[in-house]
């Protein structure tokens, strides 16, 4: 990091930060709106409009300004790459979908709510592009703190409780991670984890503190993606949060964390030079996540808690995409992430609607609800089938690419690879049981009285679109994969 510290560097960099700046402007505008309007209904309309406009603008700006090659900004604090842009776009899609799912009734403070969601979005976009420990930690906090508050703002006592727990757990992990960074600094003398100095130092004088530090940092990221063994916060938090926020938590911060984890792991992996078998460790972690997530979900009665465990298992699958440590694995990761976003939201959309209109909480409450809306019942079935990874959904293609990249990878020994493959796939059998619980109750179980029909609303239309997207991702995965193939991963 020998560039001159100059203000022109900062000014020049701002041009590449237009999406983030748009998000910042949006945050400010919504705060101002919150100051001006006090009528809740009015405020809701204004803030959601602002929110959607901001997110869409930011999205358009990302697409418009698609980075052709990687650009380092702000003395290496930030690196804009197409890989990062892809994940940023996913994050923004997630935010937009969250807005589509949010309901006026369940949100007490609209301005705060949208500010916080947008803050998480901003934090995530920055986090994905961060290249430096300080940026890393700041953007991470920008994700975490609004997340705590969003949870705590959630419905009543449960929300507060979950918020507190989430906060205590999260901030401890963050603190530990910060300590890890400080240790890593001691080992390498730099906070820029993609710089050559960092890598050289790690390659040449690897000492135990460096391993400890990397472990602490990875632990923090595993917490963000809610992977085993840092998954315990997720069920409580999801259950307490509204369906929209649960869906949001299970996708946006998770995908952001994943993108960064990919980057950090590649840095630590030192192009295969590291004495630590990162591939094997990630593989074991992923297996643990998949298995514990699935197994945990088996016993769940509460729909959102079940989805929390599902998201733990899915985190495992996403982690599995990191095992190959090569381009194809990352492409599989990108594909899986996009499909995961869609399938998770499709499922949560329907859960949200049933929760709102029919007060469905537990899986049993779904009994015979298919009569309430066949379309939605089919949508959630599609979403869950996709989560299992069965055709004809994008979930199948995602798993296909994932396991293909694993098959052909060389980062772990063939035996271990085969074990991962078989264990991973066998877990889908387990997954089948709990995922199909909901359609099972929906269709197979009867209820005494016929349920009231669900009204058609925006949410319904969106969820159908999401389900269709899942089918399209199956029939024409090339649309997305072709795009993904153009992205390259640069450290």
């Amino acid at each position: 990091m020998q560039e001159a510290y100059s203000i022109s560097e900062v000014k020049g960099g701002l041009a590449y930060l237009l999406p983030e700046l748009t998000l910042t402007a949006g945050i400010l505008l919504i705060i101002i709106a919150g100051i001006i309007w006090h009528n809740k209904s009015r405020l809701w309309e204004i803030s959601i409009t602002l929110f959607v406009i901001t997110v869409l603008m930011a999205g358009v700006l990302i697409v418009y300004d698609w980075p052709q090659n990687s650009i380092r900004l702000f003395f290496g604090f930030i690196q804009q790459t197409d890989f990062a842009a892809y994940f940023k776009l996913l994050v923004l899609t997630g935010c937009a979908l969250t807005a589509g799912m949010s309901r006026k009734k369940s949100v007490e403070h609209p301005a705060e709510y949208f500010t916080l969601v947008l803050s998480v979005a901003l934090g995530s976009t920055l986090f994905i592009t961060s290249n430096h420990a300080v940026m890393f930690l700041l953007s991470l906090e920008l994700i975490s703190l609004p997340s705590y508050m969003l949870t705590a703002l959630g419905r009543g006592k449960g929300g507060a409780e979950a918020g507190l727990k989430y906060f205590l757990f999260g901030s401890t992990v963050t603190a530990v991670m910060i300590f890890g960074w400080s240790l890593l600094y001691s080992a390498t003398g730099t906070f820029d984890f993609t710089s050559s100095a960092f890598i050289d130092q790690l390659t040449q004088n690897a000492e135990p503190t460096a391993y400890l530090a990397s472990a602490l940092i990875i632990a923090g990221l595993l917490f963000k993606v809610s992977a085993v063994p840092f998954h315990l916060w997720a069920p409580d938090t999801y259950q307490a949060a509204s369906a929209a926020i649960a869906a949001f938590f299970s996708t946006v911060p998770k995908l952001a964390g994943l993108a960064v984890l990919a980057k950090i792991l590649l840095a630590f992996h030192l192009f295969g030079q590291s004495p630590v078998p990162f591939a094997a460790i990630v593989g074991v972690l992923s297996m643990a996540s998949i298995t514990l997530g699935n197994v945990g979900a088996l016993r769940q009665k509460h729909a959102k808690r079940l989805m929390a465990y599902s998201s733990i298992a899915q985190a495992g699958f996403l982690l599995l995409a990191l095992v190959p440590f090569d381009q194809s694995g990352l492409h599989a990761l990108q594909f899986y992430s996009a499909v995961y976003l869609v399938m998770n939201f499709a499922t949560f959309y329907v859960i949200g609607q049933f929760e709102h209109h029919q007060n469905v909480q537990t899986v049993e409450d779904f009994s015979g609800q298919a009569g309430a809306s066949w379309a939605l019942a089919l949508v959630i079935t599609t979403g869950l089938i996709a989560l299992i990874g069965l055709p004809p959904t994008g979930g199948f293609m995602a798993k296909l690419f994932l396991f293909s990249s694993l098959w052909s990878s060389t980062s772990v020994s063939p035996t271990l690879r085969l074990v991962f493959l078989i264990l991973g796939l066998l877990n889908t059998v387990v997954a089948l049981f709990y995922y199909l619980k909901i359609p099972y109750y929906l269709f197979v179980k009867n209820r005494q009285n016929t349920p009231n029909r669900l009204p058609w609303e925006l949410q319904g239309v969106l969820s159908v679109l999401l389900a269709l997207a899942l089918l399209v991702a199956f029939v024409l995965p090339g649309l997305l994969m072709g795009w993904i193939n153009k992205t390259t991963f640069v450290l």
């Binding site: 194809s328 069965l390 055709p391 296909l400 396991f403 293909s404 035996t415 199909l436 072709g482």
Partner: protein, 523 residues
Amino acid sequence: MPYLLSLLIFSPLAAVLLAGLLPSRKHQWFRMLALAVSIGQLLALIALFNSLSPNISLYYAEQARWLNISLGTWGVLQANYLVAVDGLSLPLVALSVVVLLIAVISSWHEQKNVKGYFMLLLTLNGAIIGSFCALDMLLFYVFFEFMLIPMYFLIGIWGGARREYASVKFLLYTLFGSILILIVFIGLYLGVGVVQFGQILHSFSVLDWQDAHYHMTGSWLTSSETYGGFTLKAWAFLFLLVGFGIKLPTVPFHTWLPDAHVEASTPISVILAALLLKVGGYGLARVVLPVFPAETIQFSGLVGGLGVVSIVYGGFNALASKDLKRLIAYSSVSHMGFVLLGLASGTTEGIAGAVYQMTSHGIITSMLFLIAGVLYDRTHDRLIDNYSGLSTVMPRYTALIMIAFFAGMGLPGFSGFIAEVLVLLGGFNPLSLVPVWLPALAASGLLLAAGYFAWTIQRMLYGPFVTKGFAGTLTDLTSRERFMLVSLAILTLWLGILPQGLLSLINPFAEGLSRLLSEHLVP
């Protein structure tokens, strides 16, 4: 008509979409729709048979690009919409069309959630025919999996008392098997590379998989490293054997079958037994044998042995079954053992016999389940011991039971005889890959079949008619039931008396496969 196969596959799926738009009160519309689709398929099938040219091995090949995805450094993944029929799949496609038509007729009086039922049935229809037509194995796998969920619901919603257990068990077994299949399929497409335009194309086409030239050097398909005593190819073979063996089913992966068949409603049992089991045999003949000829030879004893164990074990279990449907289900296990044995023999006759057996068993078992359904519809009782002297009150039914049971026993004149004799011939052939005592043991399956079927006739049809609370309910066959049973009986008789028509269709495939296997025999 160049798009005949696509028409066959997608007309039911299009009908599903149409059905989705129809109001669910109009029960009759859904029945008519399903019937119309099935009859349309039958007409298309006739058109297809009419224009078969005798000199080619693949008919009606259709190909369209589906996936063409760059996988970075290791080439391009290619999967196509590639459908065609040959001597293996055409009989099965024809069987599917017929059986699905029968299933629609058989479900005519289904009252529970008619819309959902027929939508699922149509979905299943498309998936089954699709899986028999697909030569691209990704496509095959998709159709293969696509059968699961409709079947789960069809058993789980419209089934009998223990339907939930049965459907979950069915799903558990089948998905477990399909995962083993998927692992190998992924490995296969990654290991097979066709160089085109300077790029390595990783293909899902089974035609490419069969071609040893395309097996990439350095990939697992060419390595001789052993893990646990077997090469990776051998492991792949075993995985597929288990995967498809569950579907077939072969002992010891068969226990889903009695439960699923017993709990499913009549039309669903018919589809399960007549078509879904065939997918297992089809997969073995389509993928396992051609792609792993050397391993087939290596494990032919195992495969044939599993077949014989299934024949004998299934036969004994059928003998001890008290429930009529369970008896028929176990007889399926026994009969499908012949498929394994025929394939394992590796001879033309054996393979042709195996394919013939699949077709024949499809027809015969449909009759059997329909027959069980006739009784169950009237009395809701499937226990053999609760019936006696039916021949006095249901003469037509008795006649058709006789036909079906004797067809099941492999009486000459029925299709089963031709198939079983061909399989055994294949096994006794000196070129056969299985030791000679295996087919000899398998022949004892015929004795067992005679035992359980004839004993059932003895118990249910003869003796004094005893009413156990269902005196008035036991009426003779309705014209709908008679139509189904008689048309199936005519089919099995036709295939039993004039076998050469179908056999000459199967022969080229069987010869090709047998030749391929013999090329890998170490002299």
